[in-house]
């Protein structure tokens, strides 16, 4: 019988620990497929965050380094400066990147570190049990925002891609989503582009991926995908913010 679909070589055979309906699994596969298609698994070094994807080091089939919370871009900087020919990426959630790690991501972008950041934005702290993130939407309930996020009390949700696109060193910034098949395909294209930019030595690249957290949103997986489309897309518009060539 012909094999029509198989696991990408970019992933190990370890079973994901993610909740049912969580889109981390889809995003892992897209990143892994891109690494395989670009034939860079042998020179790839991934940096895992703290958060739901903390065990990413067990899933990607390449050298991996588990960083402290928010510090992945700094760790990736150290690796890339030692091995400039390696393909270095960070995989970070919104608590990791948009809260505790804002200094590290801004300055990695600012220095134009030749690394690729996969930023998974699901508008909540997943692993710790559904606390408010900088990206939590106005009115969205979280365990530390039980009455819903109030802008007067804790500000508006942080738009990371818009913010980073003001930085010269950030050569590729694109926001995508994985709430349906066509957007999953666009997500893969953006991830591939971000890695190609690293391979060309053009500078820092980040792909912000809107993602669901059915468990902590208190929804079924399908409700989660619909909620993302109806609530996150209006506030976090999809699209490319920066591409080399347009930068100068």
């Amino acid at each position: 019988m012909a094999v029509v679909f198989d696991r990408t070589k970019g992933l190990t055979s370890k079973i994901f620990h993610y909740c049912p309906g969580c889109t981390h699994g889809v995003i892992h596969r897209l990143v892994a497929e891109v690494l395989e298609e670009l034939d860079v698994l042998g020179k790839a070094v991934g940096v895992a965050p703290v958060g739901c994807s903390v065990f990413a080091y067990d899933y990607f089939n390449c050298d991996m380094h588990e960083a402290a919370h928010g510090r992945a871009p700094a760790v990736a900087t150290g690796i890339k400066r030692v091995h400039p020919d390696s393909v270095v990426f960070t995989y970070q959630g919104d608590g990791d990147l948009a809260s505790i790690g804002t200094a590290e991501i801004i300055h990695a972008a600012h220095r134009g570190e030749k690394i690729t950041t996969i930023f998974v934005n699901n508008a909540i702290y997943g692993m710790t049990g559904g606390q408010m993130a900088p990206t939590t939407l106005i009115g969205q309930k979280a365990t530390t925002a039980p009455y819903g996020r109030d802008a007067e009390h804790c500000g508006m949700p942080l738009k990371v891609s818009e913010m980073l696109s003001t930085i010269d060193g950030a050569k590729f910034v694109e926001r995508v989503s994985v709430h349906n098949a066509s957007n999953i395909r666009k997500t893969k294209k953006a991830i591939k582009k971000a890695f190609e930019i690293q391979l060309k030595g053009e500078g820092f690249g980040i792909v912000e991926i809107l993602s669901t957290c059915p468990t902590n949103w208190g929804m079924t997986p399908l409700e989660g995908l619909k909620w993302l489309e109806e609530n996150m897309l209006p506030y976090y518009p999809l699209g490319n913010f920066r591409t080399p060539g347009e930068v100068e």
């Binding site: 510090r71 150290g78 590290e104």
Partner: protein, 354 residues
Amino acid sequence: MAKILMKGNEAIGAAAIKAGCNYFFGYPITPQNELPEYMSRELPKVNGCFLQAESEVAAINMVYGAAGAGARVMTSSSSPGMALKQEGISYIAGAELPCVIVNIVRGGPGLGGIQPAQSDYYQATRGGGNGDYRHVVYAPSTLQETVDLVMEAFDVADQYRMPVMIVGDGMTGQMMEPVEFKELKKRELPVKDWITDGTKGEREPNIINSLFIDPQELEDHVNDRLEAKYRIIEEKEVLYEEYNVEDADVVCIAYGTTSRIVKNAIAECEAEGLKVGLIRPITLWPFPHKVFDKITDKTKGLLTVEMSTGQMIDDVKIAIAGRKPVYFHGRTGGMIPNPNDIVNEIKKIAGGEK
């Protein structure tokens, strides 16, 4: 090789480069700035990389990445900055990576001051970061000893796969002394087959990690890997200087630049007929406990002298285990102990006034 006159902070940088350190990540803070400045000037000449990080937190995490990638790598700071680095030091210790960290200590707590101090002894030896970990801490007293130990530190870090800290103070960093860069006694260093330099399709992926979610796995990691290594280091890597410890009237304990002041005080006491000993820990961890066994019944008491309100004195009390009274003399906040005050303290102990 001829001796050259160098400033402490620059001598540390030169020693590091001679030891094969090609990567340095740092952040400005007084009184250690000449060290990153020196590295920014000299590392490009050896195809190395100096990078000024956005914070001490980022700097130590860049060290974490570079160490995992197999480099000989260094960072430096001073007390408040060293407090920020503790997160990364804990991860580096947990993930068992080699690196060298320099703390040119200034007064605290908080922003404190910028003058020499020894008030980071607890931070250096008790693990300022979280968890059950240790790292070697060298406390040189002269610039010659500083460059020797900096060079040795990279080998020790590689041999045991752990961070090694050099503790100086504002005086070590700022003063000038003649130094000579000597060939080190070669240690047998393990091959770095665990680094993240890409599998090249030729091996299984390497993973740098300090997370062990299963409690039994974590206990095994701490006991079988870390603690086992620490016991070997306590056995093999203790360094200290001793002088007239047996049958002394009083034995002084001091490290770093303070020990030089204490030596002057001891010479003055000897001129007056007193027999005064000195124990100078060169490794603050592992602490030289065993040499305290040489202290005899004839000794009236021990005097610990520090530029702090008394931190190393805890280790001195553990080492002497209640056999002799332990007294303390210290200045803090950047104030330097005066030899005459130390002489008076020694005389009081010898004369039974204390």
